[in-house]
């Protein structure tokens, strides 16, 4: 286990290096730059700006500089947010996205697995059809439609919940109200995905030999479900969950923009649109590291869910 961990850690270094290199050069090849705007800069000012951010150096040298700084934990200054560093911005955005995405994922896993298992147990019965139709609705209604609709109903017309922002109150003193709609919107799609995946693999597992044997031995449905069926049925769900969780806790642009939440997703998009090279790269590296971490966890969980898949 520990050896596995260190091997993965070692592997992650070249992985991240390649990720950084590809992203770095890809961004530089894309048209536009951080100081391009409709206005014209005085040549001297532009030269000064480029020099201050080392954009005047050859590309490979800039790349080397970036890696060197990164190795020391420095993501560099943000181009867009003039007096802030990328480290600061990630540190301010991540907790928000983590809270939002983490909560949504938690709800989604519990609800999705429960609904999916229920539907599988009642395959091709009314419960199954209703549950899956609900799940499909969650998938068919894109979040950029659902989120404004929920805000209109619950904030504008009913006035029960805030329309946006994180609020100044702490979570328990009313701050939770700001999270209800965004978390719900985020979770809904995920519930639907997880429910569909769970149902699909659960049906397969329920039909396998050993479950039939267990049934024949007169074990109760719940016992069968929790003792024997759930773990193997969760394998595809877990495969999906690794990257999905990493994605969710690093922020959903649509949700953060519509609800005006100060998360990472908004930084990423404004950064990309403004060619804030360091900010985008910083978030990509951060996200990449999380992807690697979560996929590692997923591989560990595989071994636990199905001991034979362990190498």
């Amino acid at each position: 286990m520990l050896r596995l961990f260190f091997r993965r850690l070692l592997e992650s270094i070249p992985t991240l290096l390649i990720l950084i290199a590809v992203t770095f050069f890809m961004m530089r090849m894309a048209p536009g730059g951080p100081f391009d705007s409709e206005k014209r800069l005085a040549p001297e000012v532009e030269a000064n700006l480029r020099a201050a951010y080392h954009l005047d150096e050859p590309l490979w040298q800039q790349f080397g500089r970036y890696l060197w700084n990164l190795a020391q934990g420095d993501f560099g200054p943000s181009f867009q947010y003039r007096d802030r560093t990328v480290t600061e911005l990630i540190a301010s955005g991540f907790p928000v996205s983590l809270q939002l995405g983490g909560l949504a994922m938690l709800i989604a896993v519990v609800a999705g697995v429960a609904l999916g298992s229920l539907a599988a147990l009642r395959q091709n019965k009314a419960t199954d059809y209703t549950t899956m139709a609900a799940a499909m609705t969650g998938i068919s209604v894109p979040n950029f439609v659902l989120a404004p609709l929920l805000v209109l109903v619950f904030a504008v017309y009913l006035g029960w919940l805030p329309a946006g922002g994180l609020g100044e109150a702490s979570l328990l003193e009313g701050g939770w109200k700001n999270l209800v709609l965004p978390v719900f919107t985020l979770a809904l799609t995920q519930v639907a995905y997880i429910a569909r995946l769970t149902r699909g693999s659960m049906i397969e597992v329920l039909r396998s030999n050993y479950i039939r044997t267990a049934r024949a031995q007169g074990l109760s449905t719940l016992t069968i479900l929790f003792r024997h069926a759930l773990k193997p049925a969760l394998i595809p769900v877990v495969s999906y969950l690794g990257p999905a969780t990493a994605g969710l806790i690093t922020g959903s642009v649509v949700i953060e923009q519509i609800f005006g939440l100060p998360g990472l997703g908004r930084y990423f998009v404004t950064g990309a649109l403004n060619r804030d090279y360091t900010l985008v790269l910083g978030i990509v590296v951060f996200y990449g590291a999380l992807i690697i971490l979560f996929n590692f966890l997923v591989d560990l969980i595989y071994g636990w869910l199905d001991p034979r898949s362990r190498e």
Binding site: E11, P14, T15, I18, L19, V22, T23, M26, M27, M29, A30, P31, Y129, M132, A133, M136, I139, S140, V141, P142, V145, L152, Y193, R196, L197, G200, S201, I203, E204, R207, S208, N209, Y210, I211, T213, A214, R227, K231, P232, I235, P236, V238, S239, Y240, P243, A244, A246, A272, V280, V284, G288, I291, N295, V298, Y302, D306, P307, R308, S309, E311
Partner: protein
């Protein structure tokens, strides 16, 4: 504690099964009413999208300054109303369906094929090959999609094929990971062992024994990929790669319509309804296919 996953029922995946697999699947599928209904509706939808616009009284690209944002009516000539430029929404919804259905199906197939091939190979080979292949997937996950698309356009110009490449290239990752996850467990099973021991080549094992056993999960995930793909297309339009006016797509219509949901709900509701119906159909068809392809369930019905 952990119960061993039993081998699938006897005859299923024995080497020479494939032909009967597909014929069996077809007869099972035909008995599934929900799936058949979905297939019929989908067929009708495709037909409508293909011939509907030419039967309509209105051109999809002709603005009408006197009929801007007209609500739908049965008698007024605009069944679905008009958009903010006075164009007939019924015709536009059908026209939009052409691209969306095409993108939905083709890109999903592309991502499915890459995903299965990649995931099954990685999972089956294991070891170093698996690790390298999966780290590549990790990298692709984290690459900023927007720059990838912009760069593709800089290099290749605007090209309809690029839409499929751009979407396909980014949507196979989940599929690959799911397929690999399944393969890891699958390859330890007795019948795979048996095939291996009897000297069947790895490529053939993957194709003949692994893939058929994956199809259930694959089909489910395919039905989940279609909506993603259709909506991602509207993001490509933002970057100038997707459809360009006066052409349209459901993704673009839904994201435009979302801004009008309060003052002109019909601009959202109709394209969204078409999209939803399509997704439901794919879903039921997918479930039916899943049941039909499930090797364990051959005798079930």
């Amino acid at each position: 504690m952990t119960a061993p996953v039993g081998a699938p029922l006897s005859a299923i995946a024995v080497p020479e099964a494939p032909r009967s697999l597909w014929t069996d699947a077809w007869s099972t599928l035909r008995q599934n009413r929900a799936a058949m209904a979905a297939a019929v509706i989908l067929g009708a939808l495709v037909l409508l999208v293909l011939v509907g616009p030419s039967l309509s009284d209105h051109r999809y690209d002709k603005p009408n300054w006197d009929e801007i944002a007209v609500p739908p009516s049965l008698t007024g000539g605009h069944l679905f109303g008009t958009d903010s430029l006075g164009r007939d929404l019924f015709t536009r919804t059908l026209m939009g369906g052409r691209l969306s259905l095409l993108v939905g199906v083709v890109s999903t197939l592309v991502s499915m094929l890459i995903g299965i091939a990649w995931g099954a190979t990685a999972g089956f080979l294991g070891g170093r090959a698996d690790r390298i292949m999966m780290r590549i997937v990790d990298i692709l996950y984290a690459l900023p999609f927007m720059f990838l698309v912009i760069l593709l356009m800089v290099l290749f110009g605007r090209n309809i094929l690029l839409i499929f490449v751009a979407i396909g290239a980014c949507n196979w990752l989940d599929m690959a990971r799911i397929v690999r996850g399944q393969t890891l467990g699958l390859k330890q099973r007795e019948f795979i062992e048996a095939a291996r021991v009897s000297g069947v080549k790895p490529g053939r094992i993957i194709l003949r024994h692994i893939v058929p056993n994956l199809l259930g999960v694959v089909v489910i995930y395919v039905t989940l990929t279609i909506p993603q793909v259709i909506l991602v297309e509207s993001f490509l339009s933002f970057l100038g790669l997707g459809v360009q006016e006066p052409q349209t797509s459901w993704g673009v219509m839904v994201s435009d319509g979302a801004m009008d949901m309060e003052n002109a709900p019909w601009m959202l509701v109709f394209p969204a309804a078409f999209l939803a119906v399509t997704l439901f159909c794919f879903n039921y068809l997918g479930d039916g296919l899943r049941d039909a392809l499930d090797p364990r369930d051959r005798s079930g019905r």
